[in-house]
Point group: C2
Chain length 514, copies 2
């Protein structure tokens, strides 16, 4: 079930791909069945400026009481309510995405588990970083009584992704972590699954206090949201182009705000000679083609011994493609791989099978020698979203570090090695640590666990900010700002900072954690 | 000695104020004595593009070994070496800044204490946020073995401030925290104290391994530095204008990088009726005029009962000004307060005394009614860097929250209240928490302790990123990025993540901190 565990993609959630259509009256978003290319469900109207302003005003109004609320039970109630409507949500999402009932059932479970993890994070309480310093008049400068804690940054905008209609969409990780932090959330729905977004939003709206959750539809609404004075930070999962455009908007506001974009990633994988086995070849093809390659952790770039290409090609030839999420994605994939095949830089070494009809594509594998790759690094590290891979062949692993160091930032980097190659693997890890947020050993990057120790981030262009993660317990840190109270009377302090520690949370007192 | 404890200012470290002069040959920076306006010391040449590129290449080259080094002893050796040359450093800085020997001696002590605090932070080890998760194949998605830790972001640029030639300059808080994080540092020296910068840089260069510390001079060098591919993040203390320009450069790079700017701040202070005493009036005047008001935590905006203006005016009338750091600053202050006095919005209620000669200015106090202030919020919340204050008079504290909520972001906000007003103070704190990073009770904002619990930051325009602090133990977090190791063999993991915890640091294991 590792396909249930995969990460969101570089697929654009900004721009007019997917279902946005202008229809004379107000613009609206229409879902389409990728298996047939035909419309499904009723269209959802794009959000007007005045409605968006109302939603943002409600978010602002609810911010203080939400930040002060006991939020863990709310997160659990949202999770329970989503689980209770699993059948409707999954069938609605399957009709709009063709991701299949098993994968979508697992993805919804992942989504509700994520909400429950954040309830756990809230109860544990160390996310508050509560810190108490007593006075010390003898130090330079003299130290007053200081008490520091983290608190919500205020209302947050979340841009949903195309390729995870649950886990990185309306009730996904950005929403869950922001709600946990005490931030009201306004989601910009992805146009690719408007009905799924509407149903999920209905459930959130029913459970949460008024104003704490809102949803908007349409490109213009997304732009207005990022510029809206009520919005204090933005989470985004989608394409590099779309994410960069919105990052630029957020950064150029009169009051710039943090923008956390999870964008494109080529996820370099190195197979060392000792690991060039049939099992590795099969594992690669499975990871490459899982979910029609529509994961941002897709292992699109594989470094392997020259003699291993044949095995990899055989595995990919035996693999199946599927229908992509939308027409633009299919078109971009197809023209990307056609361009590579027609060019002189790389060689097409394998083509898998494709189903009939709809927005179907076939897996493709290309190969190139390390020297040629290094000389054409920029063009050959472009992400081709979908089940396409490029094998870069080397003769000596010692050639790899210099080239790996020049790769663009990725969410993941992977090494496959048996004991004989552990020393080399260690050297590669030192280089890869500079270009990726998660290093994987003898496994595949698709599959992003929801855990305290997960890191789903990395240097540009993997994300717009390498200090943070969009998956795992610490994703909450993106929506929290510190405040220090100097000399305040005990009864006026937030509970997390009172002397008797009424919340019973881990705190640091005069430098010592306890 | 609270003047030794104050924070850096909104004073520009970007732009041509201070000593940058073109002289036919290569540009150079010349120090000036603010007491006379005459040059002191020999000029320092602006850094050429090729020299800057060399410095950055050395920083990149030294990054891996510095990140792996035992850095605490280095920080302590830098502190000891600075202390050992205290006399030379203080006299050099006094000649260039006129801040006085007692203040500068204390500021240098603060600077070396800061380096020692970060040595303590490194030894304590929880800054690494080491997290270990064991595998759980039964959860959705299945959890592999995950180990997460923070590591250096890479080489960092630091822009020094004008008003703290030690604590926020070459060896100041940004440099200390970045070196602690394992980042090589390239400082852009402030043109206002070139000789002080040169002497401090000499000491750092002597103690630290090659490439770990570099310094550049000149506006063009600063711009090139922020755009340089080797630089992965920027720290800045200075004016809103200069900081915003550099923030825009950092954000518009092909690969945007984090920019931590500490900019302007009006630091609202509320005196509730019970605290409108002679002692409060005297304390206000002392904080307002300390260091000729050249602190970014200067309490420039005071909300007080109408009947209290007379006492405040008397205290300011009895206070002394001094010489400002440079000619541009003096000119900007003078034209700012002259403009206010000539306008019809506010009333000049007090003028303190000024010394003779040099770049001297006198303290000024203005007053305005709350209603007029609220109607002219934008123009009346402009920072006038220097010893100028504006008293906003109210008749009922209940009028305050609505106006306070509209103030621009500040580093600090203060409430003065006796027991009778504690309930009102609590209501004000809720509003002020949204607009400031540090809330002070019955004290004055000048004086920024170096401690675990300090927060020196706040919403725009106080800083460019409200998630962080530039003072205190957690300032190190700005230069650290997370990485997860999935399934890696024990012997290839960083020491912080090995099963036997060889560093003996606090870690989180399967969600539990110990």
């Amino acid at each position: 079930m590792s396909e249930l565990a995969s990460s969101p993609s570089g697929a654009g959630s900004f721009g007019r791909e997917g279902g946005e259509r202008q229809r004379g009256g107000p613009a609206s978003e229409q879902g389409f069945d990728p298996r047939t290319g035909q419309p499904v469900g009723t269209p959802v109207e794009s959000t007007s400026d005045s409605l968006l302003d109302q939603i943002c005003a409600l978010a602002t109004k609810s911010a203080a009481s939400w930040a002060a609320a006991d939020r863990a039970p709310y997160l659990e109630r949202v999770a329970d309510a989503l689980d209770a409507e699993s059948e409707l949500l999954v069938s609605t999402a399957d009709a709009e995405t063709a991701l299949g009932v098993p994968r979508l059932t697992g993805e919804l479970k992942r989504t509700t588990n994520q909400l429950r993890l954040f309830a756990e994070v809230l109860r544990e309480g160390s996310y508050l970083e509560a810190t108490l310093d007593s006075a010390d008049p003898d130090t330079v400068p003299p130290r007053p009584v200081l008490r520091r804690v983290l608190r919500s940054i205020g209302p947050v905008a979340v841009f949903a992704a195309s390729n995870f209609p649950f886990a990185f969409s309306v009730a996904g990780g950005d929403t869950a972590s922001a709600l946990a932090a005490g931030s009201p959330v306004v989601v910009k729905a992805h146009p690719g699954h408007p009905a799924t977004s509407r149903e999920t939003a209905r459930i959130l709206t029913n459970v949460l206090p008024e104003g704490v959750f809102g949803i908007v539809h349409g490109v213009e609404a997304g732009v207005r949201l990022v510029r809206h004075p009520a919005i204090k930070a933005v989470g985004f999962t989608g394409s590099t182009t779309g994410g960069r455009a919105l990052f630029d908007l957020a950064s150029s506001r009169p009051d710039p705000i943090p923008f956390y974009g999870e964008l494109g990633s080529v996820n370099p994988t190195v197979v060392l000679p000792s690991a060039a086995t049939e099992q590795t070849a099969t594992g690669f093809a499975a990871s490459l083609t899982m979910g029609v390659g529509q994961f941002c952790t897709n292992p699109g770039l594989l470094f392997a011994p020259a003699g291993f290409v044949e095995s990899l090609a055989a595995a990919v030839t035996g693999s199946s493609g599927g229908v992509m999420l939308n027409e633009r994605m299919q078109h971009t994939y197809q023209s990307g791989v056609d361009g590579l095949a027609a060019g002189e830089l790389v060689e097409l070494v394998a083509t898998g099978t494709a189903p009939e009809g709809g927005w179907a594509v076939a897996p493709k594998l290309f190969a190139v020698e390390l020297k040629t790759f290094a000389a054409n690094l920029e063009v050959l590290t472009e992400e081709h979203f979908g089940p396409a891979g490029l094998v870069v062949t080397y003769t000596d692993p010692a050639e790899l570090p210099e080239v790996l160091a020049q790769l663009p930032g990725s969410l993941t980097a992977t090494v496959h090695a048996e004991a004989a190659d552990h020393a080399v693997a260690g050297q590669l890890a030192e280089v890869l640590a500079d270009i990726a947020g998660r290093l994987i050993f003898n496994a595949w990057p698709t599959g992003v666990a929801v855990a305290w120790g997960m890191q789903h981030g990395g240097p540009w262009p993997a994300t717009t900010n390498p200090l943070h993660t969009s998956v795992g317990a610490t994703a909450i840190r993106r929506w929290l700002v510190p405040i220090s109270y100097q000399g305040w009377p005990e009864e006026l302090l937030p509970p997390a900072l009172r002397a008797d520690n009424p919340l019973a949370i881990p705190r640091r007192t005069n430098g010592t954690l306890s």
